[in-house]
């Protein structure tokens, strides 16, 4: 989910797990209507939110206690809590840090612990509200790799709110919000095909997209359109071959 600041991304994210209730309309999670106050905890077990600032979402003084916080609140037996905590920490690759103090971890590690806390609830969907915005490139890469694993291995739906278009292009589906409305939606290849539309929506494309557009404008036929560095390299190599410029 992308869109300029103030477009409603975070508000919508908070509607997805009943932190906010819509003033009109309905949000239904797994058949549960968030307008019904009785559903709140069931909804939050199914949809977990990770916020932007890694420094203010961990509550315990030891990593594994933080991850256990949710399952304990579900009233699960201790052995089940233990199993879930270990499993969640293993998925985010933080098991070796289970007895560490959260405040001594890097930003990327903190965000992964926050994700583990949600995983331990066995959710259906995880919502990352600019969860990579405050991280350095390594921390971002760690969190993104974790999120990919969740989707591929555990089949958990991921709603990733980000200003980094190079993250958005890797999604199955992109929703662009503008002024509290959905301005565009579709596979990234469609949403990112039209430079003018993106500029109108105040989205600044990553340089690799601009380069692809500039080459097409100059008459280079590119398959795709390419969305990532690897795709553009592959498309250009193919174009070079067609032009008879490929190396022997």
């Amino acid at each position: 989910m992308v869109g300029p600041n103030g477009s409603g991304k975070s508000t919508l994210a908070r509607c997805l797990n009943a932190l906010l209730r819509p003033t009109a309309g309905r949000v239904v999670v797994d058949g549960l209507d968030t307008r019904d106050p009785e559903t709140v905890w069931a909804v939050r077990q199914r949809v977990g939110l990770v916020f932007q600032n890694p420094d203010n979402q961990l509550v315990a003084t030891v990593v594994e206690e933080d991850v256990a916080f949710g399952p304990e609140n579900l009233g699960l037996p201790p052995a089940e809590i233990r199993r879930r905590v270990d499993e969640a920490l293993r998925v985010v690759e933080m098991l070796p840090y289970r007895r560490h103090a959260p405040h001594l971890l890097s930003g990327g590690q903190k965000q992964r612990v926050a994700i583990a806390g949600i995983l331990a609830m066995r959710p259906q969907c995880i919502v990352l509200d600019e969860a990579t915005a405050m991280l350095d490139p390594r921390g971002r890469a760690e969190v993104l790799a974790t999120v990919r694993r969740l989707r591929e291995a555990a089949g958990i739906a991921v709603v990733h709110i980000t200003h980094h278009m190079e993250e958005a292009v890797r999604a199955d589906r992109v929703v662009v919000l503008d002024g509290g409305r959905i301005a565009r939606a579709g596979p990234p290849r469609e949403v990112f095909a039209d430079p003018e539309a993106l500029r109108r929506l105040r989205l600044v494309p990553p340089p690799v997209l601009e380069l692809g557009w500039a080459l097409r404008a100059a008459g280079v036929a590119l398959d795709g359109p390419p969305l990532t560095v690897e795709e553009l390299v592959a498309a250009l190599a193919a174009a070079a071959e067609r032009a008879g410029r490929a190396p022997a």
Binding site: R202, L211, V229, A243
Partner: protein, 291 residues
């Protein structure tokens, strides 16, 4: 001109938690230069720039601003901080006054300027960052958007009328348009006022666009220092340090690996486009060459 000679800094020196953040750094930054300071997290970038204006006193070494040793006993460090201004990461967290104008006027007031003059300077600084003082001055800083708050914080350091502006991750957390606007603004400040710029960022496309020289830190030491284009041409070394290179250069390197005879030192989209068109044998349209 900023000149630092063999600067070392150890946090918590003399304790079991001692950490050596800077290990013998020497550097000269001439007036008006646009310098990018890059390096992995923990390499010492933020520590280093805080020695430039005496926010951190290095455990060893010498720091000079305009030929003056800034740690000499007779030097007023407040004056140094006026000349060498530092905008921290997420500076909007440090806004605190009731109105935007008072917040921006805080620095000049602290310099001892009379209230009227401090406010006049604040109004001028707000204009510089593209915020109309009549509109934004009376507002609460906390009622602004993230990008606006960041610009108010920048106005706060500009109101000190510094010669050098150090920006630590100035675009982190802003939306793409906010980022683009802030970079345009910084570029314009350099052009119009001749400010020396020191930019710390993980975004290499920002470094490519804004700087003429790049210094790379790793583990508290300078490991590369040179013109921006030359430093980014040493991509393998940067990648080994866990650093990125600008995206246009990444594309060219990918093509080179596939056997195409492209130059790999383009920094901008326009340069990369022209180089690719050259290799494909499609000449750029007249008037479309990169500047």
């Amino acid at each position: 001109m900023i000149r630092i000679v063999d600067v070392h800094h150890t946090y918590l020196a003399g304790t079991p938690m001692a950490t050596e953040a800077l290990r013998g750094i020497s550097l000269e930054i001439p007036d008006g230069q646009r310098l990018g300071l890059i390096g992995p997290t923990g390499s010492g970038k933020s520590t280093l720039v805080q020695t430039f204006n005496a926010l951190i006193r290095p455990t060893r070494g010498r720091v000079e601003v305009d030929g003056v040793d800034i740690f000499a006993p007779e030097v007023q460090q407040r004056r140094i901080r006026q000349r060498v201004a530092l905008l921290f990461q997420y500076p909007e967290y440090q806004l605190f006054e009731e109105t935007v104008l008072e917040d921006v006027a805080f620095g000049p007031r602290n310099l001892g300027l009379p209230p009227d003059e401090a406010r006049a300077r604040a109004a001028e600084a707000l204009r510089l960052v593209g915020l109309d003082p009549a509109v934004f001055g009376p507002r609460s800083p906390f009622a602004l958007s993230g990008g606006e708050m960041r610009r108010v914080a920048l106005a706060g350091v500009l109101a000190m009328e510094p010669q050098t502006l150090i920006l630590d991750e100035p675009t982190a957390g802003l939306d793409p348009q906010g980022k683009a606007e802030l970079l345009d603004l910084v570029e314009a400040l350099h052009r119009r006022r001749g400010l020396t710029l020191v930019l710390i960022t993980h975004n290499m496309d920002e470094v490519a666009r804004l700087t003429e020289r790049v210094v790379v830190l790793a583990a508290g030491q300078v490991v590369m220092d040179g013109p921006t284009r030359e430093v980014f041409a040493r991509a393998d070394e940067l990648v080994a340090l866990d650093l990125d290179i600008p995206q246009p250069a990444q594309v060219l390197r990918g093509l080179r690996r596939r056997g195409l005879a492209v130059r790999v030192d383009a920094l901008t989209v326009a340069e990369a486009r022209d180089e690719i068109l050259r290799v494909l044998g499609t000449p750029p349209a007249p008037g479309e060459e990169a500047r």
